[in-house]
């Protein structure tokens, strides 16, 4: 699998996700600077976490307008898979690749720590290594992860099975204190209609080694390799 990881001014988890990809694929991803409207063909485009443009104005808004994102939109339209994590989720949502928005966390605070996620479907490029309904533990680290979509959009998302992950308790029960940010319907990650684009707030790339927070995130990268190689 050939992956491209975008880098914006203020990106800061690009190294984490590049390392996760390298661990799983034994191949360094290509790092793509935001000003490059053209980059080598890739099997997967990753928009990493961080504070692109300082998260000023709205998280992801300025990065969404960069030349590289115009190209990402073109390729996504052709079916090239795109993974946006955290700030990357915010960026691809601002860019219109996914519906909805990410608002300030309910408590208005940055929150970092492990959360539990219920994998809503094991049937996608991104989740084929997980069982539908499986609970995994991965960290979050964000101040704006409170997913919101209007009622109509939400209904469409749910009807078409576009919710990828939901926050839950360790036993898989939805919501309650398992939801760290107030996301509507406990949504932690969503797909586009074709399930070729995934945006998620939690960080699977920080859950790939048992000594450093557990290995539950590894399956996502392994699944991608399997699907895309």
């Amino acid at each position: 699998m050939k992956a491209a990881v975008l880098v914006f001014p203020g990106s800061n988890r690009e190294g984490d996700i590049a390392r996760a990809i390298e661990l799983v694929t034994a191949r360094k991803p290509q790092m793509v600077w935001h000003g490059d409207g053209d980059f080598d063909a890739a099997d997967l485009i990753v928009v990493p976490g961080g504070f692109s443009y300082g998260d000023y104005l709205r998280c992801g808004a300025m990065a969404a307008q960069s030349p590289v994102m115009a190209e990402v939109k073109r390729r996504a339209a052709r079916g090239v898979p795109v993974l946006g994590v955290c700030n990357g989720f915010q960026i691809i949502t601002e860019a219109g690749l996914l519906p909805g928005v990410l608002m300030r966390n309910r408590q208005l605070k940055f929150i970092c720590g492990d959360v539990h996620l219920r994998v809503e479907t094991g049937q996608s490029l991104f989740t084929n290594r997980y069982q539908s309904g499986q609970v995994i533990r991965v960290p979050v680290a964000h101040a704006e992860g409170n997913y919101f979509a209007d009622a109509e959009t939400l209904r469409r998302l749910e009807d078409r099975g576009q919710v990828a992950f939901r926050y839950c308790a360790p036993d898989g029960t939805r919501g309650g204190t398992g939801n760290p940010n107030g996301s509507i319907n406990d949504i932690a990650g969503v797909f586009n209609e074709g399930k070729t684009v995934l945006g998620m707030m939690p960080h699977p790339e920080n859950a790939i080694e048992p000594l450093f927070g557990g290995g539950d995130g590894r399956g996502l990268f392994e699944g991608l390799v399997e699907a895309l190689s």
Binding site: L57, R58, A61, M62, Q65, E94, G100, V101, M103, R104, N105, R106, L108, N146, F148, D150, G182
Partner: protein, 80 residues
């Protein structure tokens, strides 16, 4: 020229910041405070003197960057 853009959340969109502010004010001894909504405004210095043209450009800036029209409304004022 100087212009000012106000960006507000659309009705029906939950405003966690506004809600928290309202809560805090109630607790701080301001029970008279009901609903609170927070927005932002952006003041811009613009080259040029044609107010109508500026307004068109500002509208473009809002749609492209300053507001997320999925959840936000915006309004434009030319100040001088």
């Amino acid at each position: 020229m100087k212009a000012r853009v106000h960006v507000t959340l659309k009705n029906g969109v939950l405003d966690p910041q506004g809600k928290a502010i309202g809560h805090s004010l109630n607790r701080l001894g301001f029970p008279e405070v009901g609903e609170v909504r927070q927005g932002k405004f952006i003041e811009l210095e613009l080259a040029g003197t044609d107010a109508a043209a500026a307004r068109t450009r500002l509208d473009e800036m809002c749609r492209k960057l300053l507001a997320n029209t999925v959840i936000e409304n915006y309004s434009i004022e030319i100040l001088s």
